[in-house]
Subunit: 141 residues, 3 copies
Amino acid sequence: MKLSARNVLPGTVTKICKGAVNAEVQLSLKSGDNVVSIITNASVDSLGLKEGQNAWAIIKASWPILGKDLHNVKLSARNIFCGTVAKLVPGAVNTEVSLKLSQGTILTAIITNESAHSLGFKEGDHACAAVKASSVILGVE
Amino acid sequence: MKLSARNVLPGTVTKICKGAVNAEVQLSLKSGDNVVSIITNASVDSLGLKEGQNAWAIIKASWPILGKDLHNVKLSARNIFCGTVAKLVPGAVNTEVSLKLSQGTILTAIITNESAHSLGFKEGDHACAAVKASSVILGVE
Amino acid sequence: MKLSARNVLPGTVTKICKGAVNAEVQLSLKSGDNVVSIITNASVDSLGLKEGQNAWAIIKASWPILGKDLHNVKLSARNIFCGTVAKLVPGAVNTEVSLKLSQGTILTAIITNESAHSLGFKEGDHACAAVKASSVILGVE
C-alpha cells in the first residue's frame, strides 16, 4: 500500500508495553531516532507486533509542531526529531517544511505561514519537530 | 502493508481539488458514506491519484470525536459518520467505541472514560463520529 | 519557547489521573477555560508534572473542529472553547479562523473553505472550538 502520509519512516520495534486499551510501542528508526507510538492493544495483536520486528512509523505532515532547540524544552510530546531545514514551500495559508534528520531521513511538516514567519526559518537552519505518540500510526509488511 | 490504524475504509476517488500546497480529495466509501481528505499536492502526485481509482481512507481510532445526532449540528468537520454503537471496551483512562455504519462497516474510536459516561453510550444506541478532513490519510494499492 | 503551534495557552495544572499507559491532566487556563490533555505516564514523569504547577496547553491550528453553540451539544471532545470570530483568512483550500475567548485569549483553527462557507462565519459571530484531550500537548518551563 502506498500512503498519502508524507512521513513513512523505517525502523525496528524495540519495546511494547500493553495497558488496558492502549499499548505503547517504541521503534528505533534508521535515522538513529527513537519513535514512540500509542496504538490499541487490538492493533498490536492484529499486526502481530514483536520486539525485533521491522516496522514503519507513519506521520501525516499536518501533525508535527516545529520549533528551535526543542531538545531543551520540556514538552509532553514523546517524539522530538531535530535536524536542519532542507526545503520551504509556501502556499496561501500553509507552508510545507522539510527537515533533514540524520542518515538523510526527511521529515515533512505543514505549518501556517504565520508560524513560518514568526519562527523565521531559512534553509540550513536548525529545527526540531514535536510529534505526540498518539499521532503515530505503525505499519508492517 | 498492514497498519495499526483501526479504520482502513475502502472506497473510490470521486473528486480531487488542488490548492497551492494542499489538495482536497473526496472518496465514496463502500459503506455509502463520503470521506473528504486534505493531503499535500505532493502526495496526490506520488500516489498518482485519479478520479475513479480505488483507495482507502485511513483514520486512527484516537481522532474521531463522538456525539449523538451530529448530522443536525453545524460543525467544521467535513466527515460525519452515523451508525449504532456496536461495542464498548472501557480501560483505565480511555474507552474504545465501535460504531456500526451501513453495509457492516465498523468505525472504531477511542474517547476518554469521562466522555463515555457523560454521553451515556450503550450498545445499540445511535451515535455519530466527526473526523476532520486533515486527519484522514489515503492509501492506494 | 517558540513553536509553530499557533495555540500555546498558559495555565496551571489542577488535576493528574494516571492510568496504565496514559494519564489525564487538567489545566486551568488564564482565559478561565479548563483544558484536559491525555499524555503518556512517561511524559507526566519526565515533565515532573504536579498540581499547582504552571504549564502550557499546546494545540496545533489544524486540530480544532469549529461549530456554533457546541456547549449545547453532547460531544466526546473534552475541550470546548467558545468565543467570537475575530479574524478569517481564506486560502485556496483552507481558511484560518481566529476565535477570541475570555481575557483576550486567541484560539486559531484551520478549517476547509467549504466548512467556512457552510458555517457562514463572519467576524463578531459566536463560535466554539472542540478539541480532543488526546490532541493537546503540554509544555513546562
